[in-house]
């Protein structure tokens, strides 16, 4: 079977674009909040100049809110930087917990927009695999995106990973069941191409509300 490189290439570009657009939206929101808090400080000073007493605690609270938003922006930018460096090497040894944590963090806004809670179950023993980091992030996102749609508003998607012999299994569980009918074509061309490049396997299990992505611990060139 020939790998559909065009589908994988297109998927990668779409993923990169979607994530960077989402990150820019989040940064804009942080800036908007900082802007309003700074504006409110300015308003309070203006009113103090007109005789209204200025409460120092109020300024302290506003300064704290600004600091908190700066920390939020710092986290967003750290994730953006890690994400951008995902394409540095074609293949490298990666920590699955770190990768899943990054994908979940980048997906938070999409989850929030759908009213879905995404949880990463604790992975007690570190799992490292030798693979293409960006393509892995891409396929995990596509599975998560589909799982969020299928879980539906007010439900959860729980990610878990475990080592099974010379492979790892990443599970996207919808413990409250699926509201969709799993009728959308999944895996589609993009998912199939990515899974094939990563030498893995992808299966959906409507009966137990789960998507399972299996990947080898060592991908062969």
């Amino acid at each position: 079977m020939t790998i559909d490189l065009n589908a994988a290439f297109e998927s990668g570009l779409q993923y990169f674009g979607k994530m960077t657009a989402s990150i820019s939206h989040e940064i804009k929101n942080v800036l908007a909040i900082i802007n309003e808090n700074a504006g409110l400080m300015e308003d309070l000073v203006l009113m103090a100049n007109k005789g209204r007493p200025l409460e120092p605690e109020r300024l302290t609270t506003l300064a704290g809110k600004i600091i908190s938003q700066i920390q939020r922006a710092d986290g967003i930018i750290l994730n953006m930087n890690t994400f951008a460096h995902s394409v540095d090497e074609f293949q490298k040894r990666i920590d699955i917990t770190e990768t899943l944590t990054l994908v979940v963090s980048l997906s938070n806004r999409f989850a929030s927009m759908r009213g879905v809670a995404v949880e990463l179950a604790p992975i007690h023993n570190p799992i490292r695999i030798n693979t293409n980091q960006f393509l892995l992030e891409n396929i995990v996102w596509l599975c998560l995106d589909y799982a969020m749609d299928e879980a539906g508003h007010g439900k959860r998607v729980v990610l878990n990973a475990e080592k099974v012999d010379n492979a790892i299994a990443i599970r996207f569980a919808m413990p409250e069941g699926v509201t969709g009918d799993f009728s959308r074509i999944f895996p589609g061309k993009r998912e199939e191409a990515l899974v094939e490049i990563l030498a893995g396997d992808l299966s959906t299990h409507r009966d137990r509300g789960e998507i399972v992505l299996t990947l080898p611990t060592e991908i062969k060139n």
């Binding site: 657009a21 989040e26 804009k28 908007a32 309003e36 504006g39 308003d43 929030s112 759908r114 508003h153």
Partner: protein, 124 residues
Amino acid sequence: MRILLVDDEEELVATLAERLAMRGIDADWVTNGEDAILKAETESYDLSVLDVKIPRISGINLKRELEKRNPHMKFIFMTGHGSEADYKAGSEEAGSEFYLIKPLDIRLLIEKINTALNSVGGSI
């Protein structure tokens, strides 16, 4: 003049409401579409400031829902994206003069509110 602010960032709308109140504009806020619809069913608003993208419903669809409940309500859209697609959608729905990019300039927002409601006011 009563205004409803809708954005999923609570700190943004809460602070903006306080700043508008300082300027004599009575503003309520909510962080999702369902609450906005509930508010519109029980309260009367002259204008709503909506984010183009809010949880579980687009700002455009929310505008239509709010209009059903109050046909006289005016709208101003705001967005963090500033993308061409958002601009097109927002400006087609509300008119390009009622479309703002975050971070907001409060003087510009008040100017838009005054234009939309044909009113004057809004300074500290």
